[in-house]
């Protein structure tokens, strides 16, 4: 079996007596379109935070492209190709859209610590950032401050920053959260056009989006993997209906 893009083995996390991740074995295959679903409080965000290195697991291992990164810091995992977006926007609100993306591009290219040549003369960073924004339909907004943008576009900037890191593995934490359903198709369009070689794990509540985007789904309940399979299997499974889909439909 070839190395997974991202893998966890026996991953556990507890806060005191509360176990939020219980022995999670998980594989994200190269080029995957994988969704992680589960009811509120299932431990999805905790799981993502352990993957990125923001949170240290109580036990278990995390492997990024076959290498153990359990003890590797967050910034170093990013350098190794792990990018993420946030469920709640984490943007540089008073900076321009261009700068939001350029900061990440500059970090990846290793120019962010340069102190002499003006930033605007680093044409390679600027051009790459503008091209990325154009590909997401944000070219006209490059000079706008993020806080002046409508929320739907802010969500796109959230994704744009992560893409500027040219990740090999991308974790999308509820990319459509808070976006009115009329606009969420814009997000899906963007997701559909992401390069096929990026391995993507998406955490999402919007079931339409999950079933249209994902080719594999993992269901997390109370910190444990309940089930993993193709979308059709998940949709048919009665346990999933009970704990998750059923609950969703009643709301």
């Amino acid at each position: 079996m070839s190395a997974a893009a991202l893998e966890t083995r026996g991953l556990c996390k507890s806060f005191g007596a509360l176990t939020v991740a219980d022995d999670i074995d998980f594989r994200l295959e190269p080029g995957a379109r994988h969704a992680l679903i589960g009811p509120n409080g299932a431990g999805k965000t905790t799981f993502v935070n352990m993957l990125t290195g923001a949170l240290r697991p109580s036990s278990g291992r995390i492997l990024l492209q076959g290498e153990d990164v359990t003890a590797v810091r967050q910034a170093a995992r990013v350098k190794r190709g792990l990018g993420r977006t946030f469920q709640i926007n984490q943007l540089f609100r008073r900076l321009s859209v261009l700068d939001n993306v350029a900061l990440g591009v500059a970090e990846r290219r290793g120019v962010a610590r340069r102190m002499w040549k003006p930033a605007s003369r680093h044409a390679e960073v600027r051009d790459e950032s503008l091209a990325l924004l154009a590909s997401l339909g944000l070219a006209d907004d490059a000079d706008q401050r993020v806080l002046d943008l409508p929320y739907g576009k802010q969500r796109l900037v959230e994704i744009a920053i992560a893409l500027g890191l040219k990740p090999k593995v991308l974790l999308l934490d509820e990319p459509a959260a808070g976006v009115p359903s009329l606009e969420s198709h814009r997000i899906l369009e963007v997701l559909d056009r992401l390069p096929a070689d990026i391995s993507i794990l998406i955490i999402e509540h919007d079931m339409d989006l999950v079933f249209r985007f994902a080719r594999r789904i993992t269901v997390l309940v109370q910190g444990e993997v309940l089930l993993e399979g193709a979308p059709e299997e998940i949709a048919k499974d009665r346990r999933v209906h009970q704990v998750y889909l059923g609950e969703q439909r009643h709301v």
């Binding site: 910034a75 990013v78 984490q90 609100r93 700068d99 040549k117």
Partner: protein, 325 residues
């Protein structure tokens, strides 16, 4: 004069209006010879405020203890000139800069692991400790009496510090010019852009792979180095150093000046000390007992009605006129 934010689409060229402070300083040099010592003090505080703006306005590091590094620089220059017989002003300046930088990296490496209120308290603690050391180490620092008899030789062996403060004024002006060019360069660089990223959202900076902690320590050290230089300048122009350069009051006063001028705008650091020190000079002459009242009133007005400081007010007036035209 808009906020100088840097970034990847900012034009780094120096606009003519940015030379205005230096033109005014030269004009003041000829027109107001009796105010040169106040003038030199203003120039020094501008450099000092610039160093604070770099960490507070750009990188978002909140501090009340910047006087620790200013005071250390002042005492290093003073001790060299009065106790160790090192009278060359440029040597004193470099030594003060190095001392400010070293204390900056040593303390920054510890306190920059914390944030917000904890950080604020730690910066206060550092300057208070420095104040107490200066107070108790009487044989070296002169304690509460201060350190006098500081010998400062002519600059480059050519320019003697004269009684009228002409040399001192020009010396400070050159130091400010160099400091300003360096800080401005830094703000417009990719490093400067990443500082604004740290201010806006440290969490995201981690997520884009930035070495957040090291970058904070680095900018803090650069800033404390500059503060050390400003401290040396104040000692050299006064040929005296006392405890008032250290402690919470001194650090707080600097913060007030910067807030008054406008934080994170580069030129707020010019306007704030100018207005503050001129007002202080004027009010102290007119109302020797109540001058702090005037300063306080000014600060209240700015904080209540203009969060961007005096430059923020100028900005919004200009923008309104622009729209009407």
């Amino acid at each position: 004069m808009s906020a100088h934010a840097g970034g990847y689409s900012a034009n780094p060229r120096i606009r003519w209006i940015e030379w205005l402070p230096f033109v005014l300083a030269i004009a003041a040099f000829f027109a107001l010879p009796e105010y040169l010592s106040l003038g030199a003090r203003i120039l020094i505080y501008i450099l000092y405020a610039l160093s604070l703006d770099l960490i507070l306005g750009y990188a978002g590091i909140i501090t009340l203890g910047h006087s620790a590094y200013f005071g250390l620089g002042a005492y290093v220059a003073g001790i060299l000139g009065a106790r160790l017989g090192v009278s060359d002003p440029l040597v004193q300046l470099v030594a003060a800069a190095a001392a400010g930088g070293l204390l900056g990296i040593a303390t920054g490496a510890i306190i920059l692991r914390t944030r917000a209120l904890t950080l604020l308290m730690l910066t206060l603690a550092i300057t208070s400790v420095c104040l107490e050391i200066a107070n108790k180490a009487t044989p070296v620092t002169g304690g509460a009496d201060g350190l006098s008899g500081i010998v400062v030789a002519p600059i480059l062996g050519l320019f003697r510090f004269d009684l009228f403060g002409k040399t001192a004024f020009l010396y400070c002006l050159v130091a400010l010019l160099i400091g300003w060019l360096a800080v401005r360069r830094l703000i417009y660089s990719p490093f400067g852009a990443s500082l604004t990223g740290l201010r806006e959202n440290p969490l995201r900076m981690h997520a884009i792979g930035a070495p957040v902690y090291w970058r904070l320590v680095l900018v803090y050290t650069i800033s404390t180095t500059l503060a050390g230089v400003a401290g040396a300048l104040i000692t050299q122009t006064n040929q005296f150093v006392g405890l008032n350069v250290l402690g919470f009051e001194s650090g707080g006063e600097l913060l007030v000046m910067l807030v008054l001028g406008g934080v994170g705008r580069l030129y707020g650091a010019f306007v704030g000390p100018l207005v503050y020190l001129v007002a202080q000079d004027f009010l102290a002459k007119q109302f020797p007992e109540y001058w702090y009242l005037g300063i306080g009133a000014m600060l209240i007005v700015v904080v209540m009605f203009a969060r961007g400081g005096i430059l923020g007010i100028v900005d919004s007036i200009v923008r309104r006129l622009w729209r009407r035209a």
